[in-house]
Amino acid sequence: MKYLDEYKNQGAAEQISKQIKLLSDKLYVKDKKINIMEVCGSHTMAIARYAIRELLPENISLISGPGCPVCVTDTGYIDAAIELAEKGVIITTFGDMINVPGTKKTLAICRSEGCKVEICYSPLNAIEIAEKNINKEVVFLAIGFETTMAPNIAMLEIASKKNLKNISILTAFKLIPPALEALSMDPEISIDAFLCPAHVSAIIGVKAYEPFVQKHKIPCLIASFEPVDIMLGIQGILQQLADKDPHLENQYARVVKYNGNEIAQQLFNKYLEEYDASWRGIGKIPKSGLKLKKEFAYFDASAKHDVKIAVGKPNKACRCGDVLKGKINPSECPMFAKKCTPMNPVGPCMVSSEGSCAAYYKYLRK
């Protein structure tokens, strides 16, 4: 299959593996690890699925960052979605959200109790549902980073054109560049390089990382999700470190352009404005979220249905925050694979299929 098999080529993977070993030997310093953070949940999942971490030399450590939208979504958001469902609104959502524990229950439990919760593969499914249920209110759970924001906002454009009045979105949009900034400023974490997300970058473009890289002088490399892409990305980062030449590198040029997706960016500017968003396990990060502008309040489920997103109280024993910041590996959390499993998740990193804990549980648990 063209454009997929090439990036899953066994021979290529073996060659890159050798190069990584050579570079890591060059960079070897006793008791010092090189920490590379993959920011995106899809990278986390692919790294686990293709067992890439296991292949790396001992002095190279991959840390999973906060790049899973479900994971960084606050408990209060789930509670608000449940409140909407119980008010009789039809909730439409990507599948991952339905098992995320709110304060009292999950959307899956709500559904079993008779609430309407529909799983979508695209925000456009929500439009179809709204058209079929013209006398009911439909809310799409609009969480995610720049990648998912694009189809979400495009959906609002379509709803506007169709003059659909019974659809709105409950937003928890988050931005990647401010998160990179916050993680680099955190004195408790030491990150030597970032493996930057693929699809987010396709939207925001290479240019979005420039201020960050200029300020922090840290290797940032944009790579895709296929195993060969990721390994090549790690090799590229190690090369930058070996050459002492940290810079911004785009290895996913077959998709990611310098300016990104300008149509998406224009839509964001039209509908959304920045605010200081709260990240589950991390806290408030300045200007790290986008919400609907006041003039589009009729699309804002929170305003339209008078539902507040309160700051949630996560389980105290849950160490998802430390996992999200890359301070600990999932298996170092005392609840991992014991009290907290994908069937009975305590923290969000276990519930989302892109969460670090779920990836460890699924592919790497001993």
Partner: protein
């Protein structure tokens, strides 16, 4: 001429009789069903009896590569086959939703007839009920099957030994992805096509080496990952799969990649897994490859001493766990 199923088609009156006569008896009315007795009287069977039942609620009822009808025949016949049996008789119970188009029902019944003929089984008894609109989704089918045991087979997961090899009869995950693609309206050129089909010839072809065959199963719901995890649970053995050896259809892989779905967790409806001694698997593979349903068969891994653990060597050369799927991956695929 009515176009749709009416409640009265299940009411026991004239319309019921017409439906049974025109649609059921015309297709299956020979043999034990002749004269529509309340129960089938069957011939004696040699040796042990193998008996299995399954209900079919797939949605959509027609999908690329098949429909609920062939699924209902293949599913039950395959369960009997991989239990080491030769299926002989099937019951056929239909639950129809008021309003179902009669031409759709006819298509399904035609498929049932064709599939039963291919599998060498007879429909010997049955039932038809109609429920009001909204009380079921178009059509539900139950089939139960009776078969005779092939006596040389002595199958149990507890007989699996370290060094045994794992054989799969064809591409994995095609059925689950075809149903998903149909349901979600994902239309791509050369997209996934259900593998719904029969494995009885594969089982009969492996019978030559019956003494060396330890375990057979059709990887339906939960896919290959679930079958293998169940096979090694509470034992001293484990499994190592080789990802590059697993046969995959490119269209199915494309959709799975697009949706981030792991094909090891996706259902097949016309494939089987077989675990046997290394010498036997080589020979069975050669024989399978001569059958159309076994042309993509492959040895995909082997049994090791990694207690209760199913792992896979990925294309990067790293090894990771193959877990069972969590739950609602693809509801109502069979």
């Amino acid at each position: 001429m009515l176009k749709n199923i009416q409640l009265a088609h299940g009411g026991g009156g004239k319309l019921s009789a017409e439906l049974i006569e025109n649609e059921i008896v015309s297709r299956f009315g020979e043999g034990p069903l002749k004269g529509l007795p309340d129960a089938a009287s069957l011939d004696e069977i040699n040796g042990k009896i193998i008996f299995s039942t399954d209900s079919y609620v797939v949605q959509p009822i027609e999908f690329e590569g098949g429909n609920i009808g062939n699924l209902a025949v293949h599913g039950t016949v395959n369960d009997i086959s991989v239990a080491g049996g030769k299926a002989k008789w099937l019951s056929l119970a239909l639950i129809l939703e008021e309003g179902l188009e009669i031409k759709v029902l006819r298509r399904i019944l035609d498929t049932i007839k064709k599939s039963a003929n291919e599998c060498g089984v007879k429909i010997v008894t049955g039932d038809t009920k109609v429920v009001a609109k909204g009380q079921c989704d178009s059509i539900y089918i139950n089939t139960s099957g009776i078969g005779e045991a092939l006596p040389e087979f002595n199958l149990s997961r507890h007989f699996i030994k370290k060094g045994d090899k794992i054989l799969v009869s064809g591409n994995i995950g095609d059925h689950g992805m075809a149903v998903l693609a149909s349901r979600e309206g994902i239309n791509i050129e050369n997209g996934p096509k259900s593998d719904t089909g029969t494995v009885h010839r594969l089982v009969q072809s492996a019978y030559k080496y019956a003494k060396d065959v330890r375990f057979m199963r059709d990887p339906t719901r939960g896919g290959v990952a679930t079958v293998l995890n169940e096979a090694v649970s509470n034992t001293e053995i484990g499994v190592l799969l080789e990802s590059s050896k697993i046969p995959l259809d490119p269209g199915t892989s494309a959709i799975a990649e697009l949706l981030g779905i792991e094909l090891l967790n996706v259902a097949c409806e016309g494939r089987m897994l077989l675990i046997a001694s290394p010498e036997a698997t080589d020979k069975i593979l050669t024989d399978w490859k001569k059958l159309p349903e076994g042309k993509n068969a492959a040895i995909i891994g082997e049994i090791n001493a990694d207690k209760e653990r199913v792992s896979i060597k990925t294309i990067t050369g790293g090894i990771r766990l193959v877990d069972v799927p969590m739950g609602e991956l693809l509801p109502r695929i069979c």
